[in-house]
Symmetry: D2
């Protein structure tokens, strides 16, 4: 599978109605348009039921919001990695704040994903957990302070935490791309994240629930490329 | 949404590779063919990523293998009921043995599903749990002894348990359709289940992993209609 | 084991420091004193590590805050019912809002508890879940609207919900004692609960974090017996 | 709190009846006797309800089988670290194969434990997960292949896995003591583990369910000290 080029903006569509079905497809097309116009890498994470629809309609990477660790077999209602791949996704969020996983399952997902040439972005809640996540060698680790998720207050208001976490991730494994998220909603937030060493941002409501998602994303993408 | 007509055969595609993508579509088409030829109601439960593909391609009911209880909003990696509906499913399994849920979430799913005109088939592991499930008034309650799931030994080898459970479900709420599952793999298993009062069966490997899924399903469907 | 006499006040000590070790023992002795003086039934639910200490020191019923469903055996860190009994408790809360359990485990706990002559009080979050809980025939079912837990706003501010839930529980099984909880902090709250048909109340911070726990509990116990 | 001296034998009493109450106390006294006679460090992990009883009766370290990550407060049925300490334990197993935890909770437990001078031994299932666990800097990390737990086939039958895992843990953090467990039931298993670089072993049924627990433990303790 084609590798992601960092820095990157990852757009988590969550369980919002505003990102469901046709709405999600429109948001994905906006993301594709901005990605092309600004020559930046933008990834969308749609509802699971929309992965195929969106990956067939746009030419930017599509990630799942969650996968399970199990092998194919007698499991019901799980997101089998092979199924996520088959529907067109090239990677996944893992251990998002709203879908925490046990350590052995995070490890199992990353290990299976490597064998399947499938990318993993593990979410973490603080510096120490980011080190542990990086020790498992996913493609990326996105640190998101849980108290800021959806708050509108950007993770970059904690520059020391961001810098130390990025340093810790890179010391653990320089191949793991450090990302940050939580409260990211403006181009300024993106600029600051990149200046602090982040290789990208993870956001959701700042894009999905924006009244002007294209304008917002365009400004963010410009900030991403200008500060790279 | 069109209501399910009982008795019914529910085919759980689980996380099998044999039921993924094109394979799943082929199995769903076999199910549709058999449903038409035998005038029986057959429901397929594909991989979540395949729900849209399959519901657009066949004219039989499609169920999700699992949904979450949450409202639309800031949730990541969950199966939002509205998303499952939007992709074409008309119902869902709930609390399958391989995806157990807390009581409050089962209640929340059934309650939200009713408001959304979405059908629920709650799985349960024994007589008492079936009573509790039936107290929540889902469309159907499928009792599956966990030790028999995937065993090839049919739930109908426990006729007393099946009969008592069906009686208990109907006494609790005569509108809840009692189903049974676990180890169902032959037409004889289906006949016996219907004779014992079951309004249908839930099966997975007996169909998905069969070398002759069409033949097997055809015989089961005939047994279903003949014993009704 | 001696049966609980209803109506009852159940005091959940939770994970508060104010109810830990010596503090918990003192609170249990206060509860015992008030129980004797007012001839009311008061149950304490200490930290698990304090069950033995407290049950050896007071002559009122001691409940666990949680038990697991498993049989004795190869399980680590679970609250085995036999261990809870061995340390002196005569019953347990099940499925508290802060410790939700899957339906099959709730059923398993109640079923094992009956065989071990151990009492169960299942917590539930609304009317429908209370019906399902009552269908499993625990000794008591305590309905607690989650949004009111710890709020200081009593469940009795929703008298219609309380009355309907109590009716639903008793219709399901007249042997199940209906209780209510959430925000209960005054004698008036207790009076109203009993007048609405509740056979007792479940509270935590209203007692544990009170500056005058003995006075508060004394007034509640009087209200319980006067309105019975 | 007094620090553990490595190498160490950690005895997990699990949910066995053979280790409950008086039985557990007797086993703890055997462990104390052997620890004194052989001048080895032996830790017992009793049922939670027995921690106080046992820690007051023996002069060897007592660990909990599990703790929760939460602060004191409005949590029900959790093992608050402060409560475990108050009852006399000096440390805990974390993330045992039979009680897996999410990464953020493992991190939270270790972080809280450090502040409370409370020791943590994190269990892990393979080399990669052991690296992640060691990145969180617990006192010890015990790698246990899940398929061997309770099997009677010792982890030391996989010497290459044991050596590589120990090396990986120490490379991550030389202060973390590497332990192994699963299937350990003879003095030979202990000798081999120590020779492979392990700083101790974790076992359960090999001691608790032995017909001659004192003899078995004595031989293991001798093997531990002789090979150190």
């Amino acid at each position: 599978m084609e590798k992601i080029i960092f820095p990157v903006i990852i757009l988590n569509f969550k369980n919002y109605i505003q990102s469901l079905g046709e709405n999600g497809l429109n948001l994905a097309k906006i993301a594709e348009k901005v990605a092309i116009e600004t020559s930046t890498e933008i990834i969308v994470c749609p509802h699971t039921t929309d992965i195929r629809l969106i990956s067939e309609s746009v030419d930017i990477p599509v990630f799942s919001q969650h996968v399970d660790a199990n092998e194919p077999g007698s499991f019901t209602g799980n997101n089998l990695i092979e199924a996520i791949i088959e529907s067109g996704a090239s990677g996944t969020l893992v251990n998002h704040s709203e879908h925490r996983l046990t350590l052995d399952k995070i490890e199992g997902i990353i290990s299976r994903a490597k064998n399947l040439d499938f990318m993993t972005c593990v979410c973490s809640n603080n510096l120490q957990a980011s080190r542990a996540a990086a020790a498992l060698s996913p493609e990326a680790c996105a640190m998101e302070p849980p108290e800021l998720i959806g708050s509108g207050v950007s993770v970059t208001t904690k520059p020391e935490l961001v810098e130390k976490t990025i340093t810790a991730i890179l010391e653990m494994n320089p191949n793991v791309k450090p990302l940050v998220g939580a409260g990211v909603s403006t181009a300024k937030d993106v600029s600051e994240a990149i200046k602090l060493g982040s290789r990208g941002v993870l956001l959701a409501s700042g894009f999905v629930k924006s009244k002007e998602p294209q304008e917002v994303l365009f400004e963010m993408a410009k900030a991403l490329s200008e500060n790279n």
